[in-house]
Symmetry: C2
Subunit: 234 residues, 2 copies
């Protein structure tokens, strides 16, 4: 079944189409990111105000007021014609569950994948039971992010390569300011490799040894997590 679907998708070179149901802060952010990457998006919400707010932010978006707990309304809206449906409704939980079930189970639905937002473990379980293919927890993920920022205040972004290795984007620590990469010799002194350095908007990738770090510059370094953590903090 999975094989057939992949084959069919490649064969027809089908476009990726998305519906986002529930356009609060989460759903709106999903819509905007999809649009900015050139995807087709149909946005829907129970609330006329939510749809109006979204249209103000993104005048070009296709957005409709839809009762997403009603099968006929979902059909008429065109949501069930999309490949992927994102259910961004957080409450009432019944609405989130019903919408997910309709998208997955309605006769004639062309939806291949439903991604739903959960607010509790029980909510997650219910979403999976009615067929959600993926469940996301915005608060938990963002909480982890904030916790990390608090203990490593220089850290702007981090990429974990594996359990031991990572890439960190940090602001240049106080004691590195005005010094060249040759002078600092981070490879020898901290066992980390410099991938890029400079002002946020015009970083130099693979900077030369003579490169001098200035206040507010960003430094992108790769290395073992334990070594990255030894870099000075401001």
């Amino acid at each position: 079944m999975a094989d057939w679907w992949q084959w069919s998708q490649k064969k027809e070179n089908e476009a990726l189409t998305f519906a986002v149901v529930g356009v609060g802060r989460f759903g709106t952010a999903v819509c905007r990111e999809l649009l900015s990457n050139g995807a087709d998006v149909l946005a829907a919400d129970f609330s006329e105000k939510a749809i109006d707010d979204l249209r103000q932010l993104e005048p070009s978006i296709e957005a409709r007021v839809v009762d997403c707990t009603d099968e006929e309304s979902m059909k008429e809206s065109g949501i069930l014609e999309m490949n992927t449906v994102v259910v961004g409704i957080s409450e009432p939980i019944e609405a989130s569950i019903t919408t997910t079930l309709i998208a997955k189970d309605s006769e004639g639905s062309k939806v291949k994948r439903v991604i739903a937002r959960a607010t509790s473990d029980l909510h997650e379980k219910m979403l999976k039971r009615v067929g959600a293919d993926k469940v996301v927890f915005p608060s938990r993920m963002q909480g982890e992010r904030l916790g990390l920022e608090l203990v490593r205040p220089n850290l702007i972004e981090r990429l974990e390569l594996d359990n031991q290795t990572g890439i960190d984007e940090i602001t240049v620590p106080e004691e590195f300011i005005g010094r060249s990469l040759r002078d600092l010799n981070l490879r020898k002194n901290y066992l980390v490799n410099v991938l890029a350095a400079g002002p946020a908007e015009e970083l130099t990738v693979n900077p030369p040894a003579k490169y001098i770090l200035e206040r507010g510059n960003i430094l992108v370094v790769m290395g073992k997590t334990v070594d990255l953590q030894k870099l000075p903090q401001n």
Copy 2:
């Protein structure tokens, strides 16, 4: 004043201490990330159940039931002795605002920084008025993340170096499987640099040209965003 504070902080080599008020999904994630990085955390919530749930997850945590909208309770709890207070309460909004104000304004409070979670623009504005130093929006940030994943399904993590350049962690696309890095020559054919490759748990950093990519492997590449987007998708 800022100078004096920095000087004094360095002089006394003060430890970073944290209180997290409101331990739902967001606050709990903040606590766990802080603990896993070796920080001192005091957790507090109105709800005995929330505190019990947290203690089950993290038996070693110091956690208390506190009425955080009451100045005396906040003082007695020890929260006002911490450097940083994270207000993870999302509702009622009044509780989030009152807690922030007490932490910032109470006589004798040692709190230097309050980071609060907002659920609306108006909530954000109120938090800033009563003194929050930083306001975070979990849903918006996670929504952006999901939107990106949907249009670039191979993408596991991304680091934006500047507007034009980035580092992407992707799963090896179908057509790269079984081929060596020399053979693929991503530098020439896609204008991207390979930083690491291999299975998620044991990546090879700076892999040699003879390195052969296998199904399910991860590939970490650096380059211009437009070039990174041209890499094949599964």
